[in-house]
Subunit: 123 residues, 2 copies
DNA sequence: CTCACACCTGGAGCGCGCTCCAGGTCAAGC
DNA sequence: GCTTGACCTGGAGCGCGCTCCAGGTGTGAG
């Protein structure tokens, strides 16, 4: 169970220092340890949680939904069913997003091929 | 070569009326026909262009890059090489985005499975 | 002709997700 | 002990991509 400075945590999580503080302010991060002087000390658990937040962000979950998830997580084991439901709903949204992205990516490739054919015809 | 009212165009393109006007203002749409009274009349070409814009948006291209693309498109055939280059760069970005999304989606599914196993153990 | 509703313009406002700042405090190396 | 650089807080500001508004005009049905 290591301890990490804010900058180390930023480096490892990929969130900026400001973002880490912001996340704490809005309740996405809670109970972050402090030195006697008041500076944050992050734990492996915190890094794990940040990894989950990163995963949710990268798959397009809006902040307020992440807050809801964090809130559930704070209530302990009893909320696991709710949490898994939230994650499943989000996974479904991510699937739709991936499908849309792939479809439009296909159109994009078509468009590129079309332009290439125009280029080939008039050299 | 049909003509479409703004609301019809909105319906078909999926962009709101406000967005259509906004796109015209910032130069993403140009030369939109008008009635003698000043109301917009969209053509099939416009709809096609809007389809392309939709594709670029959905694959995450930022507005200012789309503006650059639109600008190139206005200069005619001579810019096709530049346009195709821009699209290829964007396609590469979209590929990265898809890869990230899929990776994180995988983590999400793992997390869900983990929660499900916790649920299964303590019923 | 009238009415209702779609549309027009310019500009302000908004929601999101950070990011930056001022003005201070803490901690580690010399 | 001093310096230096990392860190603290509260709050303001920002960039993006729209979205909304007020106040007015166009247009098509009846």
């Amino acid at each position: 169970m290591s301890a990490y400075t804010p900058s180390e945590t930023s480096r490892r999580s990929g969130f900026s220092l400001d973002t880490l503080r912001y996340y704490e302010r809005i309740g996405l991060l809670s109970e972050i340890d402090r030195t006697p002087g008041g500076q944050r000390v992050f734990s492996d658990d915190d890094l794990g949680w940040l990894g989950l937040l990163r995963c949710l962000r990268d798959t397009g979950m809006p902040i307020n939904q992440m807050c809801r998830f964090a809130e559930l997580a704070r209530t302990g084991e009893q909320s696991i069913a709710d949490r898994v439901e939230l994650l499943r709903a989000h996974a479904a949204a991510a699937e739709e997003q991936m499908a849309l992205l792939e479809r439009q990516y296909g159109h994009l490739r078509e468009k590129i091929r079309y332009y290439e054919s125009v280029l080939a015809e008039t050299p």
